[in-house]
C-alpha cells in the first residue's frame, strides 16, 4: 500500500500541487490523469523522491519516505521501479547493459546471474533479441519496453510509469498498457501510471485520480469516470469528438 498525504509543492511563486492525498493498492494499476502542465509529473517526482514537496507525506507501506533517514530511503528505493516519460535509457550503454544497470549498482550477484536476470526481463517485454543494440538504434516503443524491463529488473514492489504510451501508435500503446497491467497482476506490484490516453483509462484504470491545475478533482474507477458530473473532468475525457458524440 502506497499512500500520499496532503502533498503541496510550489516552484518559485507558482504553486503546482495543492494538498493532494490518495492511496494505491498492490496488484492494482492506478492512473493519474489530467491535462498537460497540471502537475502529474511533479506529483510522481514527489512520490519517488526526485522533488521534495513543501509539505505532505509519502508512505510506502507505512514507512515515511521523506523523513531524512537515508538507510530507510535506500531500502525503499530498491523496491521501486520507474519508467520515465522519455524512457531515460542511458545512451552510452547497450539495451542489455541498461536493463542490468540497477543490478550492477545495487546487488552482489555474479555477472552470469545478472545477465540472466536482465535477459528474463527483456524476454518479459518481448525484446529478447535486442540486448546488444544501442538505445539510439531502437524505436520509441521499444525504448519504452526497455525502460519497463529496467524498471522491473529488481522485482519492484512499486512501479511508476510516466506516460508509458505517449508518442506511440494506438496499437503499440495498448500493448504497453497490457504489459504493465500483466506485470502488475503477476507480481502484485503497486503500480501508478500517468496518462492522458483515453484507451488506457478505460482499459487498465482500476483506480483513477484526476488532477486539474494542481488539485485533485475526482477519484474513482474506469466504470464511473464516464458518469462523472464534474465539468472539468468531462471536458477532459470528452475532448475527443467521437467520445463527445457517444456521450450524447
Amino acid at each position: 500500500m502506497l499512500e500520499i498525504k496532503n502533498i503541496s509543492k510550489t516552484f518559485g511563486d507558482r504553486q503546482v500541487l495543492y494538498d493532494i492525498s490518495g492511496s494505491f493498492r498492490p496488484g492494482q494499476t492506478s492512473l493519474i490523469i489530467g491535462g498537460s502542465g497540471t502537475g502529474k509529473s511533479v506529483l510522481l517526482k514527489c512520490m519517488i523522491g526526485l522533488v521534495k514537496p513543501d509539505s505532505g507525506e509519502v508512505l510506502y507501506d507505512g514507512r515515511n519516505f521523506l523523513a531524512d533517514n537515508e538507510e530507510e530511503q535506500k531500502v525503499i528505493r530498491r523496491e521501486m521501479g520507474v519508467l520515465f516519460q522519455g524512457s531515460a535509457l542511458f545512451d552510452s550503454k547497450t539495451v542489455l547493459e541498461n536493463v542490468r544497470f540497477p543490478l550492477d549498482m545495487l546487488t552482489d550477484m555474479s555477472a552470469g546471474e545478472k545477465n540472466e536476470r536482465a535477459q528474463v526481463c527483456l524476454q518479459r517485454v518481448g525484446l529478447e533479441g535486442a540486448g546488444d543494440r544501442m538505445p539510439s538504434e531502437i524505436s520509441g516503443g521499444m525504448k519504452k519496453r526497455v525502460g519497463i524491463a529496467r524498471a522491473i529488473v529488481l522485482n519492484p514492489k512499486y512501479l511508476f510509469c510516466d506516460e508509458p504510451n505517449s508518442g506511440l501508435d494506438p496499437l503499440t500503446s495498448i500493448k504497453i498498457d497490457q504489459l504493465i497491467k500483466e506485470i502488475t497482476d503477476e507480481y502484485q506490484i503497486t503500480t501508478i501510471v500517468i496518462t492522458h490516453d483515453m484507451n488506457s483509462m478505460l482499459e487498465i484504470g482500476e483506480k483513477i485520480i484526476f488532477l486539474y491545475q494542481g488539485k485533485k478533482l475526482w477519484e474513482g474507477d474506469s466504470d464511473s469516470i464516464v458518469h462523472s458530473t464534474i465539468p472539468e473532468l468531462n471536458d477532459f475525457i470528452y475532448a475527443n469528438k467521437l467520445l463527445r458524440e457517444m456521450e450524447k
Binding site: K45, Q73, V82, F84, Q85, A88, M105
Partner: protein, 244 residues
C-alpha cells in the same frame, strides 16, 4: 547573480565527494573517460602545439634583428615560452573547447532526457557517479597532453627553423640546452592539473544544471567553454604570480 553561481558551483563540488559509490565502480568509468578525454585529444593537441612551436620560432627570428644576439637564443625562447606558457595554456584552451563542450553537452543531454533522474531514483549520487570520473580522468590526462605538447612545440620550432634556414640544427640544440630552468616543467604540470580541474568541473556544473531542451543544452555548452577559458586564464595569471 555571479556570487550565487559561484556559491552553487562550490556546493556542486561538495556533492562530488560525498556519498560516493564503491571505488571499484569508478575504475572502469575513469578508464573510459581517459580514452574520451585523453586519447581522443591527442590529434588536435599535436597539430596545435607543433604549429605553435613553428610559429614561435619563425616570429622570434623575425624579431631578433640585431646581429649581436646569437642565433641559439631563438630556441631558448621557443623552449621557455612554449614549456612555461604556450604548451599548458594553449593546450588547455583548446581542450576547454573540445573536452568542456563535450562534458557539458553530454551531462546536459542526460539531464533533460531524465537519465540523471533515472540514476537518482535507484539511489546513486549522480553528480559523483557521472562527474568525478571525468574530473579524475582530466587531471590524469591533461598533464600527459601538455608534456606531449611541449615536446611537439619544440620539435615544430626545430622543423620550421631548420627548413626555413633560420637556424642550424646545432644552434637550435645548443639553445635548448643552455640555461634551462628546471622548475618550468613541474610548473607546467601543476598548471595543467589545475586547468584540468577547472575545465572539467565548470563544464560539468553547466551541463548538470541545464534545464529545458536542446537549446538550453547548446547554451550550457557555450557557457561552459567561455567560463572555462576565463577560469583558465585567470588561474594562469594567479599561478604565475604565486609560483614564479
Amino acid at each position: 547573480m555571479l556570487m550565487s553561481h559561484i556559491g552553487k558551483y562550490f556546493i556542486f563540488l561538495g556533492t562530488l565527494f560525498t556519498n560516493r559509490e564503491k571505488a571499484g565502480v569508478y575504475y572502469r568509468l575513469v578508464m573510459d573517460e581517459c580514452i574520451s578525454i585523453g586519447i581522443r585529444s591527442i590529434f588536435i593537441v599535436s597539430i596545435v602545439s607543433t604549429f605553435i612551436g613553428a610559429v614561435t620560432c619563425v616570429q622570434t627570428a623575425y624579431n631578433l634583428v640585431s646581429p649581436l644576439v646569437p642565433l641559439y637564443i631563438i630556441s631558448v625562447i621557443v623552449r621557455d615560452s612554449t614549456i612555461l606558457e604556450l604548451a599548458p595554456t594553449i593546450t588547455s584552451i583548446v581542450l576547454a573547447g573540445k573536452v568542456g563542450s563535450n562534458i557539458a553537452g553530454q551531462l546536459g543531454t542526460m539531464r533533460i532526457t531524465e537519465q540523471i533522474d533515472a540514476l537518482e531514483v535507484i539511489g546513486i549520487n549522480s553528480s559523483s557517479y557521472l562527474v568525478l570520473p571525468k574530473v579524475i580522468a582530466a587531471m590524469l590526462m591533461f598533464p600527459l597532453l601538455v608534456i606531449l605538447a611541449g615536446f611537439l612545440s619544440i620539435w615544430g620550432g626545430y622543423i620550421a627553423g631548420t627548413l626555413a634556414d633560420i637556424i642550424t640544427p646545432q644552434d637550435y640544440i645548443f639553445g635548448l640546452r643552455s640555461g634551462f630552468n628546471t622548475f618550468s616543467v613541474p610548473f607546467a604540470i601543476i598548471k595543467s592539473v589545475v586547468f584540468a580541474f577547472l575545465i572539467a568541473t565548470i563544464s560539468a556544473y553547466q551541463g548538470y544544471n541545464a534545464r529545458g531542451g536542446a537549446l538550453e543544452v547548446g547554451n550550457a555548452s557555450t557557457t561552459a567553454v567561455t567560463n572555462s577559458c576565463i577560469a583558465v586564464l585567470a588561474a594562469d595569471f594567479l599561478l604565475a604570480q604565486l609560483l614564479l
